[in-house]
């Protein structure tokens, strides 16, 4: 019964993402108006506090708040350091880690509403016949070049600017700069029928500029996502935040040294984050900072038990040749599927002309 309903890991993940999208965008319908505020302020996924219908919100909101209002201001006042600086931030981090411990970086690949939306945009792109663009030599350049951006966003927009604002160096408008540039703020509020976050503040230059950046990002994500898989995740500070703690969660990707790994690179082709290390490396290095634990590399590994999703010592899902054959018959590793009929029909005359 279970295996009929959930024949593949992708199907399990799709159902989980659907449920989580509902919870993180409309969750207050289920958990109640007030409980929704309190479920967590430390969710390791971009569930936006600006969305008034959601059921939880993202760790980056209280982090910026603590850095701005507690740490910055307490440093200015230079008093009550322990209670005003350390404890509040520690509480946020501990709460975050309590959540993170359960499924680790799978929050990115299975729970984050923005990740889910980007994946669905990508699926639409495949159906409409847009070819996949990749961060690799010969296309968009090596993926390593873009990796530092998420750290810059995390350190600059989640920590440094709020801190400088708390210290009085930068204006109050820069108190929560990451929220202001976050495309999830716009996407999730639009999903509730609210256009307020799409509209830009016109009476504050800083807010206007940051908001404009978010709008450009969401626009880029919606169109670019048709060809480039998970465009925003690559620079998301929450991916960086989660990767700081990724070794502390029992949930992980496991690829021990195996003679049977033929370095076919199919797993890298399948990876929506274009991680080359999953095919070129083994052990700890194979579980890269960009990994979202989506499990596609495991699904598309044609060798038995070379790559596994594990929780502690427990193997949740391992690669197998039989599974690979069935999977690849439906969808190619890079996500390519049979385009829609009218897209195929439109392509035929062009081919004939050629």
């Amino acid at each position: 019964m279970l295996e009929t309903l959930f024949p593949t890991l992708s199907r399990v993940r799709f159902v989980v993402q659907l449920a989580m999208l509902f919870l993180t965008v409309y969750g207050s319908v289920v958990v109640g108006t007030y409980a929704a505020d309190k479920i967590t302020g430390a969710l390791p996924a971009l569930s936006c506090a600006y969305d008034q219908a959601n059921g939880a919100y993202c760790v980056l909101v209280p982090t910026q708040h603590q850095v701005h209002h507690r740490i910055g201001m307490a440093m200015v006042q230079a008093q009550q350091l322990t209670t005003q600086m350390v404890l509040p931030l520690l509480m946020v981090l501990l709460t975050f880690f309590a959540f993170f411990f359960v499924i680790g970086k799978a929050f990115c690949g299975w729970v984050c509403p923005l990740g889910t939306l980007q994946e669905w945009v990508g699926k639409i792109g495949r159906r409409f016949g847009f070819g996949v663009r990749r961060f690799e030599k010969g296309d968009l350049g090596e993926v390593k070049r873009i990796r530092p951006v998420k750290w810059v966003v995390l350190l600059g927009f989640v920590f440094l600017l709020p801190l400088l604002t708390g210290l009085g160096v930068t204006p109050h408008s820069l108190g929560n700069p990451y929220c202001d540039i976050c495309p999830s703020r716009i996407a999730t509020t639009l999903l509730t029928g609210n256009t307020e976050e799409l509209a830009l503040r016109i009476n504050d230059g800083w807010k206007f500029g940051l908001g404009a950046t978010a709008n450009v990002l969401i626009g880029f994500m919606l169109v670019g996502g048709l060809a480039l898989r998970l465009p925003f995740c690559r620079i998301c500070p929450l991916l960086a935040f989660n990767s700081v703690f990724q070794r502390l969660s029992p949930m992980r990707l496991s690829k021990p040294t195996r003679a049977s790994c033929g370095s076919c690179h199919i797993c890298t082709d399948a990876c929506p984050m274009d991680i080359p290390e999953i095919s070129s490396a083994e052990g700890r290095k194979a579980y890269n900072e960009d990994c979202t634990l989506c499990g596609r590399c495991v699904e598309y590994c044609p060798q038995d038990k070379v790559i596994e999703l594990k929780w502690g010592p427990l193997a949740l899902f391992g690669s197998s040749r039989a599974y690979y054959k069935a999977k690849v018959a439906r969808e190619l590793p890079d996500g390519t599927v049979k385009p829609l009929k009218f897209v195929r029909n439109a392509a035929k005359p062009a081919t004939a002309d050629a």
Binding site: G32, Y34, A35, T40, Y50, Q64, A98, G175, G219, V223
Partner: protein, 306 residues
């Protein structure tokens, strides 16, 4: 695969349990935006413009302001009624501390959260009673620490005639111009149908609604907000708050009951925002991404030809 499905279910149930366990955490002080949650004069529910302004209503009011450097305290003053004390109901904390009395002195009443580190909404009321009239002023105060949600606290009857927000604004939210909000009117704990509920705002609007069969009145906040005067070079404060009061009256057994609920509201955010500019930058992002689509198709075409 079966292991994964079972583990997924387990992980989600753990996350849900953990979520409920975290029910009391992560609640910075109220504000209209996540980082606007810092204590700010007049930035708290129940607050509004600084006191000393003109009288805008003759209805009973409870006006509050934060106490400097103490997130767990507030100063409440009563206007339009003579009350000896303020009663505060909490949603959380020890049972014996969930209802407490605070004396009013010349400065007002210094009320406190049920515990120093327990916050969220507290219900605040003052009462004046004579043989002919029971006059109650009520409001809610949000202490900027984590605490239980106010569902049960609001559901518990506290006096004869009550106005109960259904619901109170969520964290990072406020009552706002042009929005519809619901209020329950109940008498001795029972919903009161067909009861008139009047609204007055400090900007001069007067409106009225009548409760339905479930005792719910739906009010549209008037679009009347006026920004406080600003100095040279100062921009509008999107967090500025105005006050409103809801009033309902009922006669029963020769006694008149008058109950008021006052709180604050903010301006329609669309006043200081531009959807046109937002859409324009969104489209700019889309245009910037189009080369990703076009170039790949060309490359694919070249590959096909080869």
């Amino acid at each position: 695969m079966r292991t994964l499905i079972v583990m997924t279910s387990f992980a989600l149930s753990c996350a849900a349990d953990l979520a409920l366990a975290q029910h009391n955490h992560g609640a910075p002080a109220a504000g209209t935006r996540p980082a606007d949650a810092a204590p700010a004069p007049g930035g708290r529910p129940g607050g509004g413009r600084p006191s000393g302004m003109r009288e805008w209503t003759r209805q009973p009011l409870l006006l509050g302001r934060p106490v400097k450097d103490d997130r767990a305290a507030a100063l409440i003053t009563a206007r339009g009624l003579t009350a000896g004390g303020i009663t505060v109901y909490a949603a959380d904390g020890p049972a014996e501390a969930r209802k407490r009395e605070f004396a009013i002195d010349a400065e007002g009443a210094r009320i406190e959260a049920v515990a120093p580190k327990t916050g969220n909404y507290h219900w605040v009321l003052a009462r004046e009673e004579s043989p002919e009239l029971v006059k109650v002023a009520s409001t809610a105060w949000y202490f900027g620490n984590p605490g239980d949600g106010p569902t049960d606290m609001l559901a518990t009857p506290k006096h004869e005639l009550e106005i109960v927000p259904s619901p109170l604004p969520r964290e990072h939210r406020s009552y706002r111009e042009a929005e519809k909000w619901k209020f329950l009117v109940r008498y001795h704990g029972q919903a009161l149908a067909g009861q008139a509920l009047a609204m007055e705002t400090e900007f001069g609007s007067r409106t009225q609604a009548v409760t339905d069969a479930n005792g719910i009145a739906t009010l549209v906040f008037p679009r009347d907000f006026k920004q406080p005067p600003k100095g040279d070079g100062e921009s509008e404060d999107p967090r500025a708050r105005g006050r409103f009061v809801l009033v309902t009256e009922k006669e029963d057994g020769g006694k008149r009951y008058l109950t008021a609920f006052n709180y604050s509201y903010t301006q329609d955010p669309e006043r200081s925002r531009s959807l046109g500019w937002g859409a324009a930058f969104g489209i700019l992002g889309m245009v910037a991404a189009t080369p990703l689509l076009r170039r790949r198709q060309q490359a694919q075409g070249d590959k096909d030809h080869a």
